[in-house]
Symmetry: C2
């Protein structure tokens, strides 16, 4: 087996975030009128995206997308990363591309020349720091197996994919292809379940995929419960045990649990003085964990790095690092 | 004279900011190679904009432009505002338009249909909170006197313009037209000098304009010194005294000085626990001052509102309010 060129390849919906601070009343109104669910991700079409944007307060734009955020955080730790995802040939696509390349991530997926614009996610951040996401997938739905570069997959220690990719049908197929290529090359496959509603929408597909293709699984408590429709945390841990080599369940302020075979490791959450915006918390958790893992650290250290990155990203607006995560390394090993 | 429909009309270069955190070494290198000047604004062309963007760290995008920032802050206080500025018909133009409208500002300038893209300012923020700006004016240079809506100018208590508009030649002419229309309607004209290098580039034009058309002048210490080439603060105050009805000179942490006839009022700076990003400090100072002024407050109260808004905006990344400035009103009057 050749030495891997990349530590991590991330595949995801390439999205630019539009973040705005709103009050609870705005979310409640949208919930009543448009079925928005606080704290979750709702898929919206272009018309609805225009409508909601017109109703939203002023925003800031920031590159996002779950796997995009993870690979940016991973590179910030010092890891060698690559990304596959579909933007359009437009200004937001340029922004997305710039922000990954500037972080040192290799990103060469052909942009969509004609058709939908670059995907955007309208994110409403409430005073409690919770984010409610509304995603117009745009060009991202055009990601297909043609975009899965075999050499790239074969040359990465781990191929990491976001569960959100189960929404666009072509991407789901690309997903399967990528995991087969990775395993053929003797590499590992990691998956984040992304969102409990996304798991609901594709539960059986997720179960089959997790059981047959995934080595490292990331899920928050709600997503994990949704996968096998369990009703409490203990039941969920029992249901997931042994399904993959490593299963990580995050529990917000209650920290996280790493399940590896019969071993269960509890990782405390890193303290945060003020939660400003939880966007990217799970993504940066995965970044920290996978960085630790690809560098051969113990699962405890992986968990600590993960918690530190998650704590950093929720202390400011936006889903990507505001500092160099490489600075965490000494502290986590201490 | 009809009752004004708007408290403030702002005219400026319509720009989307790209903010990135960099170290001092990055600025020093750019200074040596490309003549970038720390803390100032440099005009760049499209090629240089592409080159510099390619070298910059990941950024966040945020609507900007000096007068755009001021009118956004003004509206955040609760003032009725309108804006004139030129964006292109592109994604960044949509962002700029959205962010003003979402703040309650009326903005109906016809976008540029063909030609240059929406202007952007590549802003490098160093660990000391200083911002160094690199502006590609793009569509903004196409602002001309056709865009100066006479009804709008006549129906605003004050027409406020940024000195940066002296750079695009057509805009300079639009500027003169706007101030004549304002005075014809019995309204007032306010000007911000924007940048000492911009004053250098157009010193005589600025002098003529200030002496003949401006009622309220905003300048920081360096810009004020540049206008009449004075060499210390006392000399500058003497040179400016009586040139306009009101002259405001800002001095960063040393507060500001308001000159009205023979009266000189010193306003202390509002304390800030940590200066994160000085982008927008002068713009929000003007917003606070003009809000107080249009509501008939004493110059002391105008100065306090100004200092509070400036202190808020330098405590976070980005040039526009992160909170409702209306909350300052009670504190300033106390």
């Amino acid at each position: 087996m050749k030495d891997p060129k990349f530590d991590l390849l991330a595949i995801g919906n390439a999205i630019v975030d539009v973040l705005a601070q709103t009050d609870e009343a705005f979310i409640e109104h949208q919930q009543k009128m448009n079925g928005m669910v606080k704290g979750s991700m709702t898929l919206i079409d272009e018309m609805r995206a225009v409508e909601l944007y017109g109703q939203m307060p002023p925003g800031i734009e920031s590159s996002g997308g779950s796997a995009g955020n993870t690979i940016a955080g991973f590179a910030s730790f010092g890891g060698k990363g690559a990304y596959i995802g579909k933007v359009a040939q437009d200004q937001l696509g340029d922004v997305f591309r710039h922000d990954l390349k500037a972080q040192g991530v290799v990103f060469n997926t052909q942009p969509l020349a004609i058709g939908a614009p670059t995907a955007r996610c309208l994110i409403l951040v409430t005073p409690d720091g919770q984010r409610t996401m509304n995603t117009y997938l745009g060009a991202a739905v055009e990601l297909s197996q043609i975009d899965i570069d075999e050499d790239l997959v074969s040359s990465a220690k781990i191929t990491y994919m976001e569960g959100y990719l189960f929404d666009p049908p072509q991407a789901k197929e690309a997903f399967r292809v990528a995991s087969e290529l990775a395993h053929k090359a003797g590499r590992k496959v990691a998956l984040s379940l992304s969102d409990p509603f996304c798991v609901n929408r594709h539960r059986e597909d997720f179960q089959v995929f997790v059981e047959n293709h995934v080595d490292i699984l990331f899920a928050n408590e709600h997503e994990a419960m949704s996968l096998y429709e369990t009703s409490n945390f203990e039941e969920t841990v029992d249901a997931l045990k042994g399904v993959c080599e490593i299963i990580v369940i995050t529990r917000s302020a209650q920290g996280s649990v790493i399940i590896a075979g019969d071993k269960i490791i509890e990782v405390p959450a890193e303290p945060v003085s003020k939660v400003v915006d939880t966007t990217g918390a799970g993504d940066q958790y995965a970044a920290g964990f996978l960085y630790g893992y690809t560098r051969g650290n113990s699962l405890d250290v992986c968990g600590r790095l993960a918690s530190m990155a998650a704590a950093e990203v929720i202390s400011h607006m936006g889903p990507r690092p505001n500092m160099k995560y490489a600075d965490f390394l000494k502290r986590a090993a201490a």
